[in-house]
Symmetry: C2
Subunit: 474 residues, 2 copies
């Protein structure tokens, strides 16, 4: 709805929209790839870029919080800011506090040769901004910063609610640093609700709140056979081959219908409510269109008897991401490698837990270790699956804000990905989290040619301005 405070802010956002995009481009040029040690300096420079901007727009107590500890070497800093002097709400109650979360780190850009424009040279084409991190999550996080700027600049440095901002640099690598901070200093993030914009809209123009996320465990299986690499001519037929061992193991983890074969794996899997399943069926979704436009494979795969939305939202999966080792260059090298690794992750759903699932997986993998091979099964990172309630005033403030911007009712969906911090907010801060994202299904997250539809960038800023204003008004 229109209020005295949001109209000037929306005007400010509209008249400064081009500048916001140019600033975002500068931010996107920083290759803040959190998984690559060689980019540690870039990751820090992205953190400093955000902190500098938060200071400039008038946020308070802006600081970097270091996350490196003995148990977590090479941690990337958190960026913190707040603004806690909002006028009391109607009735004299102190104003509510909103915790804004985002992340400034990005996924690696490989395979580089599939990008139409370089991943760290943001390029506009057809109303979209192409760059690694454009939508995940630099662009969406920038919406938060620009919504705050618009409100502060148009109302004498005041915000309609109290705001805390926490932005991490390890979301793409498991978020260990922020998880520890939330556990150890929940008071410093005390709030009534968290707002996260790191998800997507179900369809263009369809305002969406995400109310469930899959969890995950990301693992490595390292198989070792011979002491050193061997020539397959001389030793083939006698020496164990770690790749063959990994193949045998992985083939026993999942059958060809997509069913995971780890004993006990499905025991804790909860079925969504009949109401939720019914709502999913009414969403504008066409499997054939999705196959053709988004996936582009000859067929979709996955567990029979479940819809695509169920398979990607409420069913667990297991995927192989890469198998480093041996010879991967062009041409031929006839090596039996001494070791090989499989990078394997599982997406988890309520009520699976990462710890229990990893234990089941590790013990099964070890039980099927082929002859002559020694294995190491490692957990790289983990995140809880979550479902969040739709029954609170913040959800109403958000759906009302998006209705004003898009002119449509909000749909409730789940996400197949993981945002581990949402579980931490629920567990440690005891607050609901709104997952109000403005990405699109074809934004190529984690893939070449990641983009952000610029119209959604601007609508996101306006939605957040309205949301923050609505909370007080409600």
């Amino acid at each position: 709805m229109e209020t005295a405070s949001n109209i000037p802010a929306i005007k400010f956002a509209k008249s400064n929209g081009s500048r916001f995009v140019e600033e975002l481009k500068t931010f996107l040029r920083i290759p803040s790839i959190s998984t690559s040690p060689e980019h540690a300096v870039d990751v820090r420079s992205a953190a400093e870029f955000v902190a500098t901007e938060l200071r400039r727009i008038g946020m308070q107590n802006v600081r970097l919080i270091e996350t490196t500890t003995a148990a977590h070497p090479g941690g990337h800093p958190l960026v913190y800011a707040d603004h806690l002097c909002a006028a009391p709400a109607a009735g004299g109650k102190s104003a509510p506090t909103v915790l804004l979360y985002g992340h400034y780190d990005v996924q690696p850009p490989d395979p580089l040769d599939e990008w139409k424009s370089p991943p760290f040279e943001p390029t506009e084409r057809d109303g979209n901004l192409y760059a690694r991190g454009a939508v995940d999550d630099k662009g969406q996080m920038w919406m938060h910063v620009k919504a705050l700027e618009s409100l502060l600049a148009s109302n004498e440095g005041k915000l309609p609610v109290n705001v805390r901002v926490i932005i991490e640099g390890e979301e793409e690598v498991g978020g260990e640093g922020i998880a520890a901070f939330v556990r150890q200093h929940p008071d410093q993030l005390a709030a009534d609700v968290a707002l996260v914009s790191d998800t997507e809209m179900f369809a263009p123009d369809l305002p969406t709140l995400c109310v469930g996320l899959r969890g995950m465990i990301y693992t490595e299986i390292e198989a070792r056979g011979a002491r050193t690499d061997l020539h397959s001519g001389m030793y083939g037929g006698a020496a164990p081959n770690p790749f063959m061992a990994l193949v045998e193991i992985i083939a026993k983890l999942k059958d060809d219908t997509g069913k995971i074969l780890i004993p006990g794996f499905y025991e804790k899997v909860a079925t969504p409510s009949a109401e939720e399943l019914k709502a999913w069926k009414s969403l504008p979704f066409n499997e054939e269109e999705y196959r053709e436009a988004e996936v582009g494979s000859t067929q979709l795969t996955g567990e029979p008897g479940f819809s695509v939305l169920e398979r990607t939202w409420s069913r667990p999966t297991l995927e192989v991401h890469g198998m480093p080792g041996g010879f991967i260059g062009a041409g031929a090298k006839t090596v039996i490698p001494a070791r090989a690794i499989a990078k394997i992750s599982m997406r988890l759903v309520p009520d699976q837990t990462p710890a229990e699932t990893f234990a089941l997986y590790k013990s099964f993998v070890e039980s099927i270790c082929p002859a002559g091979i020694t294995l190491e099964v490692r957990l790289i990172h983990a995140g809880d699956p979550i479902v969040v309630s739709t029954d609170n005033p913040y959800v109403h403030a958000a759906t009302s804000a998006m209705h004003d911007v898009f002119g449509k009712d909000t749909v409730y969906v789940r996400g197949g990905g993981s945002i581990p911090i949402v579980g931490d907010f629920i567990r440690e801060l005891k607050i609901p989290t709104l997952l109000m994202g403005f990405g699109l299904p074809d934004d190529n997250l984690h893939a070449p040619n990641e983009k952000f539809h610029l119209a959604n960038f601007h609508r996101g800023i306006e939605s957040i301005i309205r949301f923050l204003s609505n909370i007080t008004a409600s």
Copy 2:
């Protein structure tokens, strides 16, 4: 035996032995990795190094023969030389012609971090010379050149037999260039016998002739699923995963006992003669020692019911060498890659043929292609399996030469690896090939820390001097 002509040559080789090693080191410093396009210049420079030396020692008609054609782009040159003016043999018969074969290209050195000294900085330790190519095949080929030099230098530029030298630069990538040359110009390589030193001795101090070699087909299976890399959170459960597809396929190619499951694969496999099998049993071979000292795995693997020598000499195998694609860096990237490749080779034995075996393999792989995946099955290179006769005067000249050097009778073995050119010599030149090699089982061919035992380098030169002299004397 001692003859008038070989004693001075042996003396020459002994007094020039250190220089021979230093020259070899210079040769080994050239990273002539034939499979890597970025090393094409080095490969050529290795060819020129050999040609220059052949000219210097007094060989004639030395030249590089280009192998690049439209069908074979980027071919590496052959080095040719001859010396065809040997005095007639006893009885006025013209002197026999020996064709000396070797290769100047080497395998890639990766994984680099497992080398104790850099692969292209030859280093002596404990009587061994460590470098990529030390024994396979630069060092052994250099024995041929140095045997010729010793004979020429100590006998007024004369050789006891006619000699042709042909040295290729594509042995490690399938030898397509030399195969075409042999097919098209058999007259230019006309000879009575070929000598190849690219194999190993069965045990230290045990002179060995190799009378059989496995063939091979080196293949790639490329699996494609989605149009572009996808995020495993959003698409896991619906999008096909090319790695999972390759795993399913490979798991169906070979069972966990090592038996290959491709229909018809074993149909043409010949069993060695009872006599040959009996001779193999009497060789000094201890499976437990081999496992511990050479392989270093907790167990050996392979088809039950066959000895290690049978499994590596007379049984076919299938190995995975690498699986490029997806994310192979440190840390986590949750990608479902659009494509992945498996590099798979099969070792073949008589009477399997590469063409028939590839056809069986390709058709089986395509028949088990998982849903949603498209496959391309490619043959990278191939070589025939061979067995050679032991019943000819050249074998006697060789065993007599080695007896004089080592003081022991020669054992006849097979090799598990492939030297495709041997099949071409048999088929196109109609001549027997002697596989008289001086490597050792622990020389780390194709692996980090490849070495050549320097005592064998010198004994090899002497054996070749004696062999060339024996042929005329016989």
